[in-house]
Symmetry: C3
């Protein structure tokens, strides 16, 4: 997991996540400090929860200046170019999907590295990829989006399962498997938005209206 | 703490807690992923906070497949039989009270095992038993029930105090003391519902209406 | 950091934070247990998050009886004398500002002690000083005040930066530097309230009203 392109994509994903948090803070009319808090929390919240759960402390970003500088610059740029964010919407969505994919793989790898089983690894991958957004939603007093509407976690899970299966079944390197898995996650995200997929569960017990 | 019946009751308590989280998610119209998140968080949230506070990492459920499978099956069954949950209300309440009791004792035992004082042990017991529900409430955008209305924490505290006192005063085994303590917790919960006890604090300073 | 007056001020800060949490719980009509939870969480939440991030576990307050007793007594007294709290408003504000200052310094010192860089130390100082209030706001279903309105985090940051600079530049003892830094934080807080400073960010993109 030392390849340079891996790190580049991780940074792109971090940018997308930090930008999503900053955008939320702007919409909520939070102050400057609020912008930074939501930017940071969205980008590193999932990985932080994962690191705490597995006891990988101090949490990694405390000594990762690349990450901290990346998020800081992203928050500032997102604020300055907020008026153009709407035009960049597709790019933001695209990087966010890649970030979702890559953070899923990173979480799984971290779990396996700590000697945990693939199922737990998958769980940690989903936590890494999805729970920064949950904290963002809590801090901005929104019902967690993840739990309600979008095929967000499902995309993460599908790619995570593919990654674990490929590692087991094929002889391909983890890097190659990661590419396929991230591509699947981006694909599922794109299709789910395009065709309005939903995991909404039907309940026959609800009163007729 | 290795007795089989202990584990059985722990599983019953876990089922009750997971079911309560799933029910909440269904009522909030969360999607399938939301059902699992709230089921898991309610069942293991309290123990996770305790384990993090005392540095018992990786958190225990990461390697407890019985627990993870139990919660998974509970979420699915709660969803499938949601329409009957109302009829099962009494059983859900009963298992929840037992879960509250047992998680209190488990938390205290864990604290003592880590060389902490009985007072801190009691605190950890209450955290183990009650804070899964607090996280459930936060994730479903509800004011934490625990902090407002019910004699929930009080039941946990009363049983915890009894447990610690019995361990100090009597020669009885911890298992026997645990039985008495869990029974007290179930009793306090039942009476508090039956007679609508409340810890609501009166304030003379409130403006007359 | 072993001076007696340091500990005294830390206790005064803890009292102010615990009192602010209890007051919030009373206003939200939480029950007795809710008063204690919000009192504790506000006073120790920031330090707990810091300790978890840096892996300083078990968290310190678990073995700090002075702290636990202080908070317990504060919660009870705040409840009993709630009707006078309004007259004590200035004192509460003053101790809260001192608490903010001291917790910032304590967090920085803890970070340096764990071999982290000054920038990360500053971050940990701000987390120590400010995030107890964030958890208080989440638990009482309020939009986090910190992220919206007040020059709270900014005061903490300004004092933290001064403290780190003084340690680098001057030969003065950390204790003396801490005094100057806490004074700056109290000053910034006071001026920000007096002159209604704000870090609200302007957005040209907002629709005209």
């Amino acid at each position: 997991m030392e390849l340079t392109w891996f790190n580049i994509i991780e940074i792109l994903g971090t940018i997308a996540f930090a930008s999503s948090g900053t955008t939320r803070a702007i919409r909520k009319q939070y102050d400057l400090f609020g912008l930074f808090v939501l930017g940071f929390v969205t980008a590193i919240g999932g990985g932080t929860i994962r690191d705490i759960f597995i006891g990988n402390l101090p949490v990694e970003w405390l000594s990762d200046f690349t990450l901290i500088s990346t998020i800081t610059v992203t928050v500032i740029l997102t604020y300055l170019f907020y008026r153009f964010m709407d035009k960049l919407r597709w790019w933001v969505f695209f990087f966010d999907a890649i970030g979702l994919g890559l953070f899923t793989i990173l979480g799984i790898e971290k779990g396996l590295e700590f000697g945990l089983s693939p199922v737990i690894g998958l769980l940690l991958g989903v936590i890494t990829a999805c729970f920064g957004g949950v904290i963002r939603d809590i801090l901005s007093s929104e019902k967690p989006l993840l739990l309600r509407e979008e095929i967000y976690a499902f995309a993460s899970i599908s790619g995570g399962v593919l990654y674990i299966l490929l590692n087991f079944i094929t002889e391909m390197s983890h890097e190659v498997n990661a590419i396929f898995s991230v591509l699947l996650i981006v694909l599922v995200r794109t299709l789910s938005i395009r065709y309005k997929w939903s995991l909404k569960v039907p309940f026959k017990t609800q009163p007729p209206e």
